[in-house]
Structures are given as structure tokens and as C-alpha cells.
Amino acid sequence: MANPNLEMLHGMLYGKGIRFGRLSGLARIIAAMTGDHADVVPFQGPQIHDHAMTVAKVPARKYYWDADLLVDVHLAVCRWYGFDSATIVADAYNLEVEALGAKMIYSDYAMPTVDVSDPLIKSPSDLDKIGSLDPSKGRIPYGIKIGQLFLQKSPGPFAGGFFCSPWSLICQAMGYPKAVRALKRDKAFAQALFDWAENQAIWPYMQALRKAEVKNANGADAWAAFPELTPELVEEWIVPSADRLRERGKKELGMTVSAGTAAADYCEEDIAKFDKEVMFKCWTAAAKTFPLKVAFSGMGRTQEWNMHWLQEYAVKAGTGGKKLPVMASLNGRFMRDSEPEQIIAKIAEWIDILGRDGRMLVFIGNVPADTPSLNVHTAVNAVRTLGKYPIAKDLSKIKVDSPQFKPFDEWLKDQPEADIIFKSRQSKAN
């Protein structure tokens, strides 16, 4: 079954108890999101561009310019790991400011990054000088092509384009400290910044995406995660901005524009400061911008969280007697730094708390470049083993075998992406 609509229908029916056939990855996710549960807890494809580049051993100066290569590397690496979906995104925070003239640093081994020592916006008067984004400039065409290829090669509800959400774009253009000062001390300037980001930077990009038949775009907003912004500031600035873009996208382009993804993501690092009340506020604010109605954990130090709190929130915030689906995200550094046994134990703990009543999905909050592949394979294998429904009464008695997998290069030889990946290794520049 390769038709995403049929796969989604299959998932919906399965989730509602009409269980037949073997679920695809997409169907499994839909079953967990919309129904009681799937056959097994789904493992969503994480943001993985740095790590995928490292696994595929492709040069950064080609990977971050060549949409075909970036998409094929993502698809191959996600399939190698066995995720239930692919998330395909490049350096989502850079494309608009780069095209508008921000100074960038390019590297042989890392993604491009904005030179914050010489920001695009130094004073309010710069807003008038920058002008509107020209979608033919910089790497905007690359972003558009990634969206097209994603839809073409891995169609479904999660496929589409990406952009940098207004608040993170403002931070990229002027630096977070000055941007946050504007929010707190100069609301008129802050509003002018949002107007500029939404209408002059992002909107032309959305128009170009739509023209290229990409009808769905997701806007990353990590600078709006907690504690960079409080949930109150997210409610005051990020949610209304996301609403404006969503409405305008729907009305003028017939397009789904989802800004503010990862806003209010609870990323407190200090365990001693974990605060249930603040977490609940964050999850509530996050749900207002996140494209899916879920209890969301993203990039935070989730390995130390009390997951009973997330479960309690999901039950309270659910409707019709069903809890909100829970996105349980393994922290990227935890994935990189842990032994496989620790990963298995963490997944067992989470499934025990969050998965017994279904509506649980597992995810990784941005996989670091140097994460051992064994750890990612271990996580996927552990979820597949421990997350089978009905969940075993005593998960400690379930043995999770070591994952069996071929080295990436050996596996790749038989894959459709082999040619582009192997050839790109011979190229050093775009």
C-alpha cells in the first residue's frame, strides 16, 4: 500500500479497533494519533540533518546546497534506522536571513550559520532598508526544491516545505538579546519586527512554495522554546503571529502555514528547576502552535523528566475521554552519550508510564551529528520490542536483543539513493 490516503484510512480504522492487515509507518502514526493505539508504539523520524550528513559521509558544502542530495540522504538514513516517518529539513533557521543579505559562515563540515557579530538588523531603521525577500536569491530555491522532493518521494501529511518562524527569524536577524529586549521594553518595535518577518521575509517564501505546488510548510521556532521565552511571552507574541500566518496562508494561498513549531518546548536544563506548573503552561502554549494536537516534548532534558506529569497533562487536556497523543522525545544528547542499556531502560520506563493506554509516539529531539548509530538502532529496536500492544505487564521481563543492522555503506549499495550519495563524496564544493 503506497497511497498515503489509504494508509491514513487504514491507520484510522486500526486505531478505532477495526484491525486488519500490516500497518505502514504512516498508518501506525495515524492509529496512535487518532485512535486507541497501533500495533506497536510508533517511532517518528526526527530532525536529523547533521547526523544524517555524518552517517552518509557527504560534504557539508554540497549537502546544504543540493536539495536532491539532502533529501536522498534523509530518506536513506531514516529507512536504515527504520523510523515510521521521515522528517526532511535542512538548516531551517538560515534560509530567509541569508537570502535577505545576512552575513553567513560556511564550513566544510557543518551547516551554514549566521554571523551574529554583524547582524542584519542593527537598529530600527534597518527594517526599511532590507526590503522584501526575493525567492530567487540565496538558498531559497534549495528550500523550495526540498519541499517539492519531500512531497514527491515521501508523500503524506508530514511532507512539505519548511521555513524559519517569525520570532526565530528576528533572532537570526538581530541576535536574541536585542530581540528579547524589544519584546520586553519596546513593544512597538517588536510589533514592527514581527510585521517585517511575517510579511516581507516569510510571506514571499510561502508564495514561492505555493507556486511550486508545496501546499504545506512548517516553521521551526526553537528560539521560542522555554526558557528562551516564557509561556506567557509565547502566548502574547508567538501564538498571535502563528495565527496570522495560518489565516493568511489559508485565505490567500489555500496553504497550511504552521509557524511556531517548538515554541514553549520545555527545555529547562537544570533538573533542580523542573517545575510542574511551568511545564503545564508550556505544554498548553505549545499546543496552540504545534501543527498536531499533542502533548509535546521536544528538545528538553526529557531523560530526567517525571513522565507521570506528561501523562497527567495529556489525560487532563484530552477530550471525549481520550488523552492527548503524547510525543515522547528522547533527548539528543542522551541518545549520543548513553550506553544502549540506558536507552532501553529509559524506553521501558516511558512505555510503562505513557504507552499502556495507547496514544504514545516516540521521537528524538534533533539527533546530534556524532550520535553512535548503534544507539539510534537500539532505540528503534527497543520501541518495536517493548511497545507491542498489548503492552506486557512486566516490561523488565522482556528481553530486548541487540539490533541487527548492516553498516550503512554496505546497506546503501542496494538502495536507490546509493548513486547520489557515493558520488557526492567525491565532490568537495557546490
Partner: protein, 214 residues
């Protein structure tokens, strides 16, 4: 009277009132109050209180940013006077920079502010700092501690090379190395052979004080 002035400066820093902080510090200097007391009882007291509020979950990053800005303004006014004053023994020299290929400096700026307030003589190498520049700076300044920051999982890997190069050049035994930045962790710090990991700016300051026995 002087205590009231110090309290007002401290309050302005804590509340992130940068313009007011500058004016109050200038007024205190004009009133011939000792620069060192203005520093300790006013500016540093204010940023310390902001740090305490941050730790107690009453302040969040936007609040700390405003306090750090006010602290910076206060220090700019105070600095020329402090240089003319015997400020007593420093905690030592601390070289800090964000590694090559990485331009993120928010965390570093906060660490610099807090280290300065704790009495370190900070040499800020800035962002996108090549390995050779770190090594040269260690040779030139002979610091007690060198701090390496990175924000990306790709650039953080350079930290290991820098620490190795310090060893190769016979400099490692004479300097403590700290690492920090969003993608780093205690495990990473151990793996690259650093002496300490700063989880956040306040933690970095406290670990630095521990390293110098203070």
C-alpha cells in the same frame, strides 16, 4: 546614604534597567563613592540577585538578558575608574571563546558577565575562534582557565582537537579547560578530557570558582 545608592544600583541591574544603571553608577562615582564598593555592593550584587532569581525559577532567560545588559552598562561606566584603582587579587585569568565555525555568543556573553562579577580577569576571544588562536592566547596570557563554547553538534567536536593541541604543545598541565554550550554534556566533557562542564552560565561560574579553589 551610600548604602541606598548601592541598593538602587543593585535593584536597577536586577530589574534590567540599563539606562538607569548607567546613570546611577555615574552618580555614585560623582559622589566620590569608591569604585570597588560600587562594583561589589551595587553592580555585582544586582547581577548576583538576578542569578539567584533565575535559579529559583522566578527569573527566566529574557529577564536575565536584561539584567546582563544592565550589568554591562554599569561595568562600562565603572571600568575606567576600576582600572585606576587597586582592586585586590583577581581570581585568575580566564580565556574564553566560541570555537571555529560557530557564531553563537549568547551563552558566552552571559558567562563572561558572571565570571567578571566573580572576580576573574576575562579575556574574551569572541566567536568563530580558530584552534591556533586559542593556543596562542594560552601561551600569551597564561590563564588559569580556558573556556571553550560551541552551539552546534558539529562544531563542538573541535573542542577535543583544541584540548589535544594544548597537550601537544605542553600547555595542558598548566591550564584548566572548561567546555560549555547547548549540545555539550558532562559525558562529552569527560570524553574530550575537559576539567569541567558548565551546564549554564551560573553553573559555569560556580565550576570556575571550584577549579580555582574559591
Amino acid at each position: 546614604m551610600s548604602d541606598e545608592k548601592y541598593q538602587a544600583i543593585s535593584k536597577a541591574v536586577t530589574e534590567g534597567e540599563d539606562i538607569q544603571t548607567g546613570e546611577l553608577v555615574k552618580a555614585a562615582l560623582d559622589a566620590s563613592l569608591p569604585p570597588l564598593e560600587i562594583l561589589q555592593k551595587g553592580v555585582v550584587d544586582g547581577i548576583t540577585k538576578a542569578g539567584e532569581l533565575w535559579k529559583a525559577n522566578q527569573y527566566f532567560l529574557p529577564d536575565v538578558i536584561l539584567s546582563a545588559d544592565a550589568f554591562k552598562v554599569g561595568m562600562e561606566v565603572l571600568d575606567p575608574e576600576l582600572k585606576n584603582t587597586q582592586t585586590g587579587p583577581s581570581r585568575g585569568k580566564y580565556i574564553i571563546g566560541v570555537v571555529e565555525g560557530d557564531m553563537h555568543d549568547l551563552g558566552k556573553s552571559l558567562v563572561v558577565a558572571l565570571l567578571t562579577s566573580a572576580g576573574f580577569e576575562v579575556v574574551d576571544l569572541g566567536i568563530d575562534v580558530p584552534m591556533d588562536k586559542f593556543v596562542e592566547a594560552v601561551k600569551t596570557h597564561q590563564p588559569t582557565i580556558v573556556g571553550l563554547g560551541a552551539y552546534m553538534t558539529t562544531t563542538m567536536l573541535i573542542m577535543k582537537d583544541i584540548i589535544k593541541e594544548l597537550s601537544n604543545q605542553g600547555l595542558r598541565n598548566n591550564v584548566k579547560v572548561m567546555v560549555g554550550g547547548v549540545p555539550t554534556s558532562q559525558e562529552f566533557s569527560d570524553e574530550v578530557g575537559a576539567d569541567a562542564w558548565g551546564r549554564d552560565a551560573l553553573d559555569a561560574m560556580q565550576k570556575a570558582l571550584t577549579l580555582v579553589g574559591g
